[in-house]
Amino acid sequence: MDVRDLVGEAFAGMLARPVRSALTTLGTVLGITTLVITLGVAATAGNQIVGRFDELVATAITVEVPESENTPLVAWDAIDRLTRLRGVVSAAAVAESKDSVNLSVRSNDLVDPTRVTAQTLTVLAATPGLPEAARGRITRGRFFDVGHIERADRVAVLGDQAAKMLGVTRLDRAPAIFIGRHAYTVIGILGDLRRERDLSSAVIVPPSVGRRFGLRDVTRVLVNTSLGAADLVAGQAPTALSPGNGDALQVIAPPSPTRARDQAQDDVDALFLILGLVSLVVGAVGIANVTLVTVMERVAEIGLRRSLGAARRHIAAQFLLESTLTGLAGGVIGASVGVVGIVAISAAKQWTPLLDVRLAVAAPVAGAVVGLLAGLYPALRAARMEPVDALR
């Protein structure tokens, strides 16, 4: 028997009932579509390295310093060592303690019955690099510098919310605030914070002044790195800050791009792959079912073919090829719908769709294999049929 004849007969058999054949492919179409979209979208999402990339998050590192009883883990001047590291753009050390978060702060000593003058604010100590490290801006006045720290000047910088609450709006008259009993000169207001937003309702004083409020040791270090250096700096920062005790520091670094990619892929993949495989199995069962029904319906045709000289293998080959073609059609349609789906999802998410040629080729092949497997039993049944019985 000529292969072309076999293919022709299989096609004719499939097209004899086009609606049924179309419905039979539906399961495979759904399965293949799900698989193609799942794999395609995962690959596409994985390649959007900066898909949900946020420069701020990707370059911000926070080092938490645990309290230690003896010598401090991180000295105040350790910040200088950190800023010398390649990739570090700005860094600042901050001290904050449980006692310093609820201090009563007033803007003057007069008792004004019409206003609430005393506010409960957080007081913290910081190194001069804080405005840059917190990605903020000095909206008025200035930040304290090394000179203020060395002289232990009684100066303070207010967060913009804190300034509003205390009624400090202008600095040209050198306003003072009272923290507890002592007065401090407000030299600047820090605003527009993009990191550590709670600084906006805080009172910031030099470390040398902070000791009065129990702000002795560095509790947190804010670091900003250049783009892409976060991973490297996160590894080096503990050693730079606290040689010998680096392990005790807790570094909070942004997830690296590779990890983000893995995560995205894992999320999508697992569930939908299972879904796709399940629908593929359902599709295979559907093809097997319909092919079996078709075999039973075409008993007379099988008998006729046997009487015309068809061997058992010819009958088996025809039904096997019919189910394979059905699966292949499902695979081709599924792959096409899947690719369109990937492009649509990418368009909606403003991603660059990543279309793998291997996927577009493998999907129809997978469909054909499903059809082939599904057709095995019905084809066997058809081939086993005795011509005498088939012609009865």
């Binding site: 028997m1 004899a16 006729l304 073919r305 015309l308 058992r312 010819h314």
Partner: protein, 225 residues
């Protein structure tokens, strides 16, 4: 003396049931080239079993069946299938035309399992259709044809590949008298060209047209004068 087309020698066919059924009881039959033989008998007499054995669709329990001089009872399944496809043209009561294929495609089907070249197949099919007088219906689907036309299309299919034997199972069973007449005329004409025809029937009219008549009753074959 030329080899007979069919030579049955004490062919016996038993069906294992309780009690066992002997469908063919030591049947011996010789059909020569160009014979036109009718097998008659009531239903259940063993006609269909005889047809299945003659058509190589079933094996006899014992005895010898030579088709064109080839001993068939010893042949393997594949060889019997090839012999069946090459030597025997079947004509069935219910035509067995594929409903979704045109007349000429149905006729061409006869060649796809054989050794014949694809080239010229359509021409051969058209020639066969001309031979049965269906040259004007080649592109029709079977359901557009009358019963007689359908049977003639089936005969054209059986004639493809020049079989030694035309084996007809109640070929007029589904036809009215006018169409029956047309089919029988066609058989006469084909026999005139030297074709060997064996018709199994229970219709008087059909058997009377045949040159030879054998009657089968309870598996026993008797030649009628």
């Amino acid at each position: 003396m030329p080899e007979p087309v069919i030579e049955l020698d004490r062919v016996r066919k038993d069906f294992p049931s309780r009690p066992p059924v002997r469908a063919l009881a030591d049947v011996s039959l010789r059909v020569d080239r160009g014979d036109y033989l009718a097998v008659v008998g009531p239903s259940g007499s063993g006609k269909s079993t005889l047809l299945n054995v003659l058509g190589l669709l079933d094996r006899p329990t014992s005895g010898s069946y030579r088709l064109d001089g080839t001993e068939t009872t010893e042949l393997a399944d594949g060889a019997r299938t090839r012999l069946r496809g090459g030597r025997i043209g079947f004509v069935f009561q219910s035509f067995h035309l594929l409903a979704h294929r045109s007349v000429v495609e149905n006729v061409m089907l006869a060649e796809i399992y054989g050794e014949q070249a694809r080239k010229g197949r359509r021409e051969r099919a058209l020639a066969a259709l001309e031979r049965v007088g269906l040259g004007h219906r080649v592109g029709f689907l079977p359901d557009r044809l009358s019963g007689g036309e359908r049977q003639r299309a089936a005969i054209a299919r059986a004639l493809m590949g020049e079989p030694s034997l035309l084996l007809c199972d109640e070929p007029t069973g589904n036809l009215d008298s006018r169409n029956t007449e047309a089919v029988l005329d066609l058989f006469d004409e084909l026999r005139g060209h030297g074709l060997t025809i064996l018709v199994i029937t229970h219709e008087q009219e059909v058997s009377e047209r045949a040159a030879r008549r054998v009657r089968i009753t309870d598996g026993v074959l008797v030649e009628e004068a």
